[in-house]
């Protein structure tokens, strides 16, 4: 499956606040990205194909959903943006997807921890268009890399049970 050089990047935005979700979606669309916006880390993982739902379904959702970047709020009930970051970085199929964290709180220790533990960028809210412009190099870099996500998904179809259960086991951290 050839990828057009100018195909739009697909960004997954995660924020529990409706107004911020609307804003980030608009900022990303204005920058010509395709956007999926969800309201929690749990829903983000579902979308990325990392939960029990997809294990049983016939349609392999993770094959055609190609997320180029994840941008997430830090303060969310249940799973924080940091928790989500760690789950993604600990997943063999998702760890190469760049993750960006947003927060309304300017707490240096928080910022450092996120950056040290895998986040590409940390944006202070309210996020501006100038911040969104900083995403492009991270997206370009992930496009140039061999597509690890797609390859893994294709392998799963070839040998469904073995590969899949192994993959999910890795996530039970």
């Amino acid at each position: 499956m050839a990828m057009a050089a100018d195909a739009k990047f697909h960004v997954l935005a995660v924020d529990d606040t409706l107004i911020d979700r609307k804003l980030i979606e608009k900022l990303l669309k204005t920058s010509s990205y395709q956007v999926t916006a969800v309201d929690s880390g749990t829903r983000a993982l579902e979308f990325l194909g990392l939960n029990n739902k997809n294990r049983n379904s016939n349609a392999d959702a993770s094959v055609h959903v190609e997320v180029s970047l994840i941008i997430t709020d830090y303060c969310m009930p249940g799973m924080t943006g940091y928790d989500l970051l760690r789950k993604i970085k600990c997943s063999s199929s998702l760890k190469d997807i760049p993750v960006v964290i947003m927060s309304s709180d300017n707490i240096p220790s928080r910022i450092n921890r996120c950056l040290e533990d895998g986040a590409e960028e940390f944006f202070l809210k309210p996020v501006q268009l100038s911040d969104v412009n900083k995403l492009r190099p991270h997206l370009m870099k992930s496009r140039c890399k061999p597509n690890i996500n797609k390859r893994k998904a294709v392998e799963e179809i070839a040998s469904p049970d073995g590969t899949r259960s192994r993959r999910y086991n890795e996530l039970e951290v």
């Binding site: 606040t17 911020d20 608009k26 309210p126």
Partner: protein, 151 residues
């Protein structure tokens, strides 16, 4: 004739927004929102304002409830004011944001009296902001109606 009316309304809108900047009611974040509005999403600003007002009213009602208890649950108050501060910041509601910061401090100090005072301030700022937003949205709707008539 419509052209002149539309131009006049647009000027009125612009001047009124400027007055809100001058009074510190709105800050630059609101301009960012205006810049994001385009032909693909001509009601963007209105939609954001509506979302903000619904959110703010819900939170203010909650905070009022918590503050009416004998023993105030400060952690619930903290989380509410954090949310409201965030929304205010996202829409550029500068004075609302500052009022939230004051409530955050009072809540952090676990001082009920100061919390009540800070909360009243928030409520006052919100009433002011809401009536100004309603005025803006009315002008915007008239502009859209006139522009649609022209087509």
């Amino acid at each position: 004739m419509n052209q002149m009316a539309i131009a006049a309304l647009k000027n009125q809108y612009k001047s009124f927004v400027q007055s809100m900047f001058d009074e510190g009611v709105l800050d630059n974040q609101f301009s960012q929102l205006q810049d994001l509005q385009d032909s693909s999403n001509p009601n963007f600003v209105d939609e954001v304002i509506t979302l903000f007002c619904n959110d703010a009213e819900r939170i203010i009602t909650e905070m009022n409830r918590y503050l009416n208890y004998q023993n105030v649950d400060f952690s619930k108050l903290d989380s509410n004011v954090h949310q409201l501060k965030g929304s205010s910041s996202s829409i550029g509601a500068h004075r609302m944001k500052l009022a939230c910061v004051n409530l955050q401090q009072a809540s952090y100090d676990r001082n009920k009296e100061e919390c009540v005072e800070a909360f009243n301030s928030i409520r006052h700022e919100y009433c002011l902001l809401r009536s100004k937003f309603q005025f803006l949205m009315q002008i915007q709707r008239r502009i859209v109606a006139l522009e649609n008539n022209q087509q």
